[in-house]
Symmetry: C2
Subunit: 401 residues, 2 copies
């Protein structure tokens, strides 16, 4: 093993992100399942859904009031005979006698012969009559059938992650089930002899493994189903076994650690001979990156420092995973930077920041190992590669974590 | 039953929202459960969590490189004897012989006696020696113990809904479980003789019940656990039975329908004698509103038009429910309105809108029954009560749905 740095072409953040996106894009074509509408919240609709009915289903009243003809209330006040009441849910087949009024509830069918509704607020009833205090034109407070959506018209397009408002529309047209894509399935394999699971006492030189739990949480928060989280020591045979198991059960695999210039870089050692491309991306944190396709399954290899792992996920994986799952894009805003910062030449830097009323401030501690510090951050501050110093007050790009 | 409108004081949106918020605020004090950190994503931390360890746990190397004393590399290039290798995970108790170098991997303990690390990129090794091409000051590329977080220091404050970055920090300090609040439990009771469940053929006058499914989805999307969704006809005895069951199992109950000026207003009829306050809020859609506290459980009664139900939830319930569950506040932005709109005098109007590159445009169809139209909306456009006409280009408040 050489102790010299492995030379390789350094790619830009945009170039590498494009490569990742091209590699993951085939995951858009996933299996489809039919799920009950009430269980479909957050699921991604697999096909355009058209309405099986007109909505409103029938001509109905927009108000509690009196169904009349506009003609009969052209001059007001006018007192009309009251011919009955139509509640919501009634078939509504009783026609309106000429010159009379029928009381109608909101949502009740407009009786045949009526052409408008006078809201109850502008009426006064007494015994078998109602006095109309204000006239209405034909069509007022009448909801015509099909004015919301017509039978066969597109209701919700394929590809969206179903929000409550979509669920409401699907339920309103009476659909019991909808076709949704199965979520992307991901496996996580962390590496490193020094890592031990939470709850275990630490021996000298050991630290807790946070990357597996953190990547699993980040994946789940972005619509991905995590099928396994495993950990390998720096033993190549063990890593090979775990990566093979991961690629058999998942659509995409994430690894952490074992990708940089050390002597025990298990991920690089195992995956490079299998066609993996390992090299440097002009980014901080997260420079060393690897990408392998094993049996058709993309394996994204992130560096092992906890902040590097999380920032790699945010920058390279999260945007395309959200897009493939139909979730809204990550919001990017321009805000004034509240403190001057320095940035390494030639590397795009993602600082951890916090939003205030005045702009965005870097959180204290930007080292790639400062995972507790990252918990305080709400955003990443994007400093372009060519920039080495940013004065306070400069407008910077900010993306929500 | 009177057919006259029930007169009552009309409250403003802000007044009514304040009343709802005061009524729901006691739900902040909920039972606490201990859950494994990997299962805590999105759960609300019930207590301040302090770090049980220093992080970094021990003084370690920030780079793959050579641990030396700054003094020994003050003049470069200099060739030093190589005394061994310290991998990550090793106890790291071998001291650095004076004037020598020890190879260290990222994360490996800094050997006693060393005070800096020279990254491998600035070195050249041959046999038992290493040539250091560039010197370093004491402390460079050394991560001191406790510089991220110290034992006993606050790691994540009580009240936050745990995001992946919080999960990462909790895992990094080795916590296996964390105390979280149990979610708010809600029950939904919809009403109306005309409503039938999805999948059932419609008879004349009937429509599909979307409010139960839509409210359940909206609650779930905002951190609330939905314990039941039931439907009552306009029969007061049936509604009373269902509302009693709902208040027995839930922390808060939502009803839809039966609150306006019609003849069959089952919710108002049942709950007003039990202390419910029913009246008008100066808002469109969603004017008729009811609030009852039954056996200590708040019951929010929304009007039954699907869009009125959803907008009532967005405006009156969602902000406080998110706050009580530790979720980020709903984002409110100011954007130019892309089309002129009219608005009723004296009523704050929430139009459904869609964001474009240039601003926000109202979606076509703003009637409170246009539930399919609402599926196309991404935001609510907030038109103040006193405004009756808004010119295109006016800056308006916009809140994400």
């Amino acid at each position: 093993m050489s102790s010299r740095p492995v030379s390789g072409t350094t790619r830009s953040v945009d170039q590498y992100r494009d490569t990742i996106e091209q590699t993951l894009r085939p995951l858009a074509a996933r299996a489809v399942a039919s799920v009950p509408v009430p269980a479909a919240l957050g699921r991604q609709l697999a096909e355009d859904v058209s309405s099986p009915v007109d909505l409103p289903v029938f001509r109905n009243s927009a108000m509690d009031g009196y169904a009349v003809t506009a003609e009969s209330v052209a001059v007001t006040p006018v007192t009309l005979p009251l011919a009955g009441v139509v509640a919501a849910g009634e078939p509504g087949r009783t026609p309106l006698p000429p010159g009379a009024a029928l009381k109608v509830m909101t949502g009740a069918p407009i009786p045949p012969g009526a052409d408008c509704v006078v809201p109850v607020e502008h009426t006064h009833s007494e015994g078998d009559t109602v006095t109309i205090e204000r006239g209405r034109a034909a069509g007022e407070f009448v909801r015509e059938a099909g004015t919301d959506v017509r039978t066969g018209e597109l209701l919700v397009p394929a590809g969206v992650a179903l929000a409550p408002r979509h669920i409401a529309a699907l339920a309103a047209v009476g659909l019991a089930e909808v076709p949704v894509f199965k979520p992307i399935r991901a496996a996580v394999v962390t590496t490193g002899d020094e890592l031990v699971p939470a709850g275990t006492p630490l021996r000298p030189g050991q630290i807790y493994n946070s990357n597996g739990i953190a990547l699993a949480a980040a994946l789940a928060a972005n619509g991905v189903e995590v099928v396994s989280v495993t950990h390998s020591t720096d033993d190549p045979a063990e890593f090979r076994r775990l990566i093979d198991a991961a690629t058999e059960s998942a659509d995409v695999v994430f690894t952490s650690g074992g990708v940089s210039q050390g002597d025990f870089e298990v991920v690089k050692e195992v995956l490079r001979p299998l066609g993996g491309e390992f090299g440097s991306v002009a980014v901080q944190p997260g420079g060393p990156q690897g990408l392998t396709v094993l049996g058709g399954v993309p394996v994204l290899s992130f560096p092992g420092n906890p902040v590097s792992t999380m920032v790699s996920f945010e920058v390279f994986a999260r945007p395309i995973l959200r897009q493939l799952s139909g979730l809204p894009a990550i919001e990017i805003r321009d805000l004034p930077l509240l403190a001057a910062v320095r940035s390494p030449a030639g590397r795009r830097q993602f600082l951890r920041g916090r939003i205030t009323a005045d702009g965005v401030e870097p959180v204290s501690g930007q080292g790639s190992h400062l995972v507790a510090g990252m918990a305080k951050a709400e955003v990443l501050i994007d400093i372009p590669a060519e920039v080495t110093e940013v004065a306070a007050g400069t407008i910077v790009g900010v993306r929500a974590l």
